[in-house]
């Protein structure tokens, strides 16, 4: 029982991070109806940025977070202004392929620049430290990642719901035309969505590098997880994606433990992400609007 609760707690921490990753994807989807396949690659580049900032300048990876965030924002803006804008003229199939191409391009650019090695940070204030609460042991890095993800999520949530610009963004995602009649510039809102998408995922990358290997193809796994979160929470729903992230995090952690307990090989840790893929499939087929979704 203890092992299950432990997995549950770990899952919640991971889930907070997943929610942050999926948040950007969902904001972009909500505003533009575009699924950004390159989202995982943004995460990967955020990870590399934090990795090299902390390695070359010698600052703690936590202080590299703003750099990752900035990289993410710039990456999002550059993608939008230099590429995505041109995709909007074409059919939906071209948009899908376009972001797919962007994903491959960034992935292999990273492979070209940084090689295929798995890299992990060895030094840092939090790295390697852990503390225990009762029978449960927490890694400091994971706890920090969970808490900071939660804060970042809350900031974005506040921005979207309480500020004028954030409300304009939401208005655009509800109804593009009506919003533009009210004087909201669609183009600006699109760019803002990409900036938020890139920025949040950049922060997530900066947090993830504290305890996870970075390599050029790391993005695929996380983008698939983000897709599952978005599908589960509902395409376009900010609140939904938060709870969906938590749920996916818990699922991914508890599931292998559950398999261990009943001694089944087919429920082993190899399959923890298979469950995420299956979950996506089942959710979109049987409840396409997700748990909290309003876009169909």
């Amino acid at each position: 029982m203890e092992i299950l609760i432990d997995a549950l707690l770990q899952g919640i921490l991971m889930g907070l991070l997943f929610a942050l990753v999926a948040l950007g994807l969902n904001v972009i989807f909500g505003v533009m109806d575009i699924v950004n396949f390159a989202h995982g690659e943004f995460l990967m580049l955020g990870m590399y940025t934090a990795y090299f900032t902390s390695l070359l300048i010698g600052v703690d990876p936590l202080f590299a977070l703003p750099v990752s965030a900035l990289t993410g924002v710039l990456l999002g803006l550059a993608s939008y202004y230099w590429f995505i804008k041109y995709l909007l003229r074409g059919p939906a199939i071209a948009q899908l392929f376009g972001t797919f191409g962007l994903m491959l391009f960034l992935r292999y650019l990273a492979q070209f620049l940084f090689g295929i090695d798995y890299r992990i940070l060895q030094k840092g204030v939090l790295i390697g430290k852990s503390f225990s609460v009762g029978p449960f042991i927490f890694d400091a890095t994971k706890l920090a990642a969970g808490v900071l993800s939660l804060i970042a999520f809350a900031v974005v949530y506040y921005f979207l719901n309480k500020t004028k610009v954030g409300k304009a963004l939401q208005a655009t995602s509800l109804n593009k035309e009506a919003a533009s009649y009210m004087g909201i510039k669609t183009d600006k809102m699109n760019a803002l969505a990409w900036a938020i998408g890139g920025g949040t995922v950049g922060v997530a990358g900066g947090l993830l590098i504290n305890f996870y290997y970075v390599y050029p193809t790391v993005g695929l796994l996380f983008v698939m997880i983000a897709f599952a979160c978005v599908a589960l929470g509902g395409f376009g729903s900010i609140k939904g994606v938060f709870f969906a992230g938590l749920l996916v995090g818990i699922l991914e952690m508890v599931f292998p433990v559950f398999g261990q307990l009943i001694g089944s090989d087919f429920l082993g840790p190899h399959f923890k992400f298979t469950i995420v893929y299956l979950a996506y499939f089942i959710i979109v087929v049987f409840r396409p609007q997700g748990l909290f979704g309003w876009k169909n």
Binding site: F83, G90, L96, F97, G98, F105, A231, F271, F281, V285
Partner: protein, 332 residues
């Protein structure tokens, strides 16, 4: 009989296209006698194989407009069926290949039924999901060789039943025949009732539905037939390479390549996938072998690939064939 005539009838194409097809066919027929090296021959076999895959993708992806990114599943099913039956039960290729096709078609019906409730992005991601699940299972399933894959037994003497030949020419002609079967099927398909229905669905799903077309059934049927062709290609891959593993026959990269070739050449046109494969396969192989020698340049070939997709999807979503048609004044 009527269908066969339709499949062989290319008369609605322009004169230039017909002449192009004839020249291309003659070239394919005499190619092995042109005295090219084994590397070039291997590239040609790869080209025909990927044209076949691309045409399979083109049915549902091109004519139907449903972005499918899971074709590798069917390559994998075809390849694994042939390989496993040969290793376990010593069953010849000519029996195991049709079994593989049957399994692929059955599987495509099972996943196609829920899949085609979805559209657009949802569909594309779901196809990735199903193929990743299948790959995960095969990568961890010890019975089928797990991540190590399977080696096919090598026979001492050439054996037609097991598709083992000393010369690549036999493989070449075999895949060429398959290629033409697929081409003729596609030629029939685009003129068939199913083909027209599918294009109508692509243009306007609601209008198609109001005309009484069973949209989902239409898509599933097309999808399953296409997966049969892809599975045959997969079976060929197993006997040709004599070694398969999940990373080589089920990987997402393979699905991407297939879709990419069709898209780059021109989705929704008969020649598109062939042009795409003729362009990308040599690029891939020559770049790969050239860059392989330079250690620092890993992945540059894929970067060029990706840049191509980005440019094509931003400027001419109808691919190379779209550009050609534009020049001829037939495009929009």
């Amino acid at each position: 009989m009527e269908k066969l005539k339709d499949a062989l009838d290319f008369s609605d194409f322009s004169r230039a296209e017909q002449i192009g097809l004839i020249i291309f066919s003659i070239f394919l027929l005499v190619f092995p006698w042109l005295g090219s090296g084994s590397f070039v021959k291997a590239v040609m076999i790869q080209f025909l194989l990927f044209s076949l895959f691309g045409m399979g993708w083109n049915t549902i992806g091109g004519y139907g407009g449903q972005v499918e990114l899971g074709k590798a599943q069917y390559v994998g099913i075809g390849a694994y069926t042939v390989a496993l039956l040969m290793v376990w039960l010593n069953i010849p290729f000519w029996i195991s290949m049709p079994i593989g096709v049957l399994i692929a078609v059955g599987y495509s019906f099972i996943i196609g039924y829920p899949l085609f409730r979805l559209k657009g992005h949802y569909f594309a991601i779901a196809t990735i999901c199903t193929s990743l699940v299948l790959q995960d299972i095969f990568t961890n399933w010890k019975l089928v060789g797990a991540a190590k894959g399977i080696e096919l037994p090598i026979h001492e003497h050439p054996d037609f039943l097991y598709m083992q030949f000393k010369s690549d020419n036999y493989y070449y002609y075999f895949i060429m025949v398959l290629f033409y079967c697929t081409l003729f099927y596609m030629n029939w398909f685009r003129k068939s009732k199913l083909g027209y229905q599918l294009r109508m669905i692509k243009d306007d799903e609601e209008a198609a539905e109001s005309l009484g077309i069973d949209i989902r059934w239409c898509k599933i049927k097309t999808y399953s037939i296409a997966s049969a062709f892809v599975a045959v290609g997969g079976g060929f891959m197993a006997v040709y390479n004599l070694y398969i593993d999940p990373a080589s026959v089920m990987d997402l990269d393979l699905s991407i390549k297939i879709a990419l070739m069709a898209m780059l050449g021109g989705a929704g046109s008969l020649w598109g996938p062939i042009i795409g494969a003729a362009f990308l396969v040599p690029l891939d192989r020559f770049l790969g072998s050239w860059l392989g020698g330079h250690k620092g340049l890993i992945g540059v070939d894929f970067m060029i690939y990706a840049a191509l997709i980005m440019v094509v999807s931003a400027y001419q979503p109808r691919g190379i064939w779209g550009i050609i048609e534009q020049f001829r004044g037939k495009g929009k």
